[in-house]
């Protein structure tokens, strides 16, 4: 009995796949079986809900903790919501440290880094797609090997490099990795996208005598809209979260980014938990919003079967 219920669950997946590729392929009998609530479905929801609660625990504790009145004694039982709700923590956290200024500093890095990353990564991905496959394979292989390097291996020498280039304490030092497209992975996202464009599209445009930059602008950019959106979002999140590099390369308090600014708040007032949680909410909330907006684009395509590969002319 239990086994058959599980098997039905498996069919639901198949239904989902069929639905994505074309609903008219779906046999009506299967459709019926998938809408009936079986015990296994309740167990599944209970388990998924339980795990969701566990995974949401950090965000929830952060938010609840941010609303305690500073200086209150520890709660005696379980405190679901503090009483009174101290929304004022969100005002004081901006006064104790210059969070507003740190937000502007972070945005300065983003403004430099996101467009540079998009340009460098999409150019490199486009060029590798158009150049000989052997060269592309070698460069990609070398980039992947370099990804194995510990980040710690770069700290000391980059520090020396930025010091002599006069970039310490500037957003340029923090945005510098965007010169290589932030990480080789972002270049690869573009490369894979261009790989899927039919060869004839490029050939036709080349017969017109377009140069490479024109081709990239006229065909490459529109063909990779989704890749631009994805890499843009990933880059934004990357620099927003970055902690190690600003910690090492920014030594003036007024030039801190949000991450280091929050660590600085912890040094100033390590036991003022409501304030620390309010600061954490302030730097986390923009990423949650970005994630919720972007989520349909990167979690839901996982339900569709992978599109058939375009055979490249290798």
């Amino acid at each position: 009995m239990n086994k058959s219920a599980r098997d039905d669950g498996r069919r639901t997946t198949d239904d989902g796949r069929l639905e994505a590729s074309g609903p008219n392929l779906q046999p009506p009998v299967r459709n019926l079986s998938s809408t009936v609530h079986r015990p296994s479905s309740i167990v599944w929801h209970a388990l998924a809900l339980f795990l969701s609660v566990l995974f949401l625990l950090p965000l929830a504790s952060m938010f609840v903790g941010s609303l305690r009145l500073p200086g209150l004694p520890p709660p005696r039982g379980i405190e679901w919501l503090p009483n009174p709700l101290a929304w004022g923590n969100y005002v004081s956290v901006f006064q104790v440290v210059e969070l507003g200024r740190y937000a502007l500093n972070t945005l300065a890095v983003e403004v430099l880094a996101v467009p540079t990353t998009l340009l460098v990564a999409s150019w490199a991905g486009f060029a590798l797609d158009q150049l000989q496959p052997r060269l592309a394979r070698r460069i990609i292989g070398a980039s992947l090997l370099l990804l194995l390097l510990p980040e710690t291996a770069l700290w000391v020498s980059r520090f020396i490099l930025y010091k002599y280039a006069g970039l310490l304490n500037t957003p340029f030092a923090l945005a510098a990795p965007s010169l290589l497209g932030t990480t080789p992975l972002y270049m690869l996202i573009f490369y894979w996208t261009y790989r899927r464009v039919a060869r004839e599209t490029w050939e036709a445009a080349r017969l017109d005598g377009s140069g490479a930059f024109r081709m990239w602008w006229a065909l490459g950019v529109p063909a990779a809209r989704a890749a631009f959106a994805a890499v843009g979002i990933l880059t934004f999140v990357y620099y927003w979260r970055e902690f190690n590099e600003p910690l090492l390369y920014i030594q003036t308090i007024g030039k801190y980014t949000l991450s280091v600014g929050l660590a600085y708040l912890e040094q100033l007032d390590p036991t003022n938990w409501p304030l620390l949680m309010a600061g954490s909410v302030v730097i986390t909330l923009p990423l949650v919003v970005v994630f919720l907006i972007a989520q349909p684009f990167f979690l839901e395509p996982l339900d569709r079967p992978r599109p058939a590969k375009e055979e490249a002319n290798e």
Partner: protein, 291 residues
């Protein structure tokens, strides 16, 4: 020809960036290990050969950090891999509410390191933290997690186990690529859930699993700097002093760049060795998936 020249121009920024910001700095760090160099006294830059490595073998904190890093990797990698696979199997099906469940599982992964560290410090806070609140209301003995050797280590590993969003997405993509016919064939043969997991899902997902194994191993050895610095500060009694944190202390607090660089060599060597051993022992396993 002009077209190809333009293509090389488009590729140039990426290559130049890689050379200036990755290849030269990496080579530089590895070379600095053979010198005595401190930014406080930049003119005193002299060759010491393997001197830094000799010092390293006599530094008890180095051995502590190496052991801690290995222990952390051993604790967190299996947890993260099994967690990501289990979650992916659970959240693979298209059901009502699936977007919510997937989003919930991914959300801890996007929290910035500093905020993530602070919130776990709060969760495990002996007086105010939710965990001890629950223990108190159940009349169970409360713990002072962070000042306890085992407690501090479990916190750092728990923090890693909660951030499995990327692994989940990769595993979901891997599960999606298993041809549905294989499952259908197994169903027709009367295979139950566990039989299909063992005979279809696991062999087919082995390459994805290995990729994540290598990646998580590298991340665990090399990228646990922020939690160790912010949550436990390496303590108590150096129980969470990991190699990256040791490098940070030696290079950026004591300004012994050469010494820090010597530890980077060790870190790189250990990572390469472990990934190599994993590759050798699992090679047949992943090849079997393609048969």
């Amino acid at each position: 020809m002009r077209y190809r020249t333009q293509l090389y121009l488009m590729l140039a920024p990426f290559l130049v960036g890689m050379i200036i910001l990755v290849i030269i700095p990496a080579a530089g760090s590895l070379i600095v290990a053979f010198f005595d160099y401190s930014p406080l006294n930049p003119n005193n830059f002299h060759w010491v050969g393997l001197g830094q490595f000799a010092l390293l073998t006599r530094d008890p904190l180095f051995w502590t950090a190496l052991g801690n890093s290995l222990l952390y990797t051993l604790g967190s990698v299996p947890l993260r891999l099994v967690g990501a696979l289990g979650l992916a199997l659970l959240l693979e099906r298209r059901r009502r509410g699936i977007s919510f469940y997937r989003a919930a599982a991914y959300l801890p992964t996007i929290i910035p390191d500093v905020a993530y560290a602070l919130v776990w410090l709060w969760i495990f806070n002996p007086l105010f933290g939710p965990i001890n609140q629950v223990l108190r209301s159940l009349h169970m003995p409360t713990q002072s997690w962070i000042v306890d050797v085992g407690g501090a280590r479990s916190i750092v590993i728990t923090m890693a186990a909660w951030q499995v969003g990327e692994g989940l997405v990769v595993m979901l993509a891997g599960l999606r690529d298993i041809p549905p016919d294989l499952h259908d064939a197994a169903l027709v043969d009367g295979a139950g859930f566990w039989a299909r997991l063992r005979l279809v899902t696991l062999p087919m997902i082995a390459p994805t699993f290995l990729l994540l194994l290598f990646r998580d191993t590298i991340v665990s050895l090399q990228d646990n700097f922020a939690p160790a610095l912010l949550v436990t500060k390496g303590g108590p009694h150096y129980a969470t002093l990991f190699l990256p944190l040791k490098i940070y202390f030696d290079a950026f607090q004591d300004f012994r760049f050469g010494y820090g660089a010597a530890i980077i060599w060790v870190l790189y060597g250990v990572t390469a060795l472990i990934v190599f051993i994993q590759y050798i022992t699992t090679r047949r396993w992943s090849e079997a998936a393609y048969e």
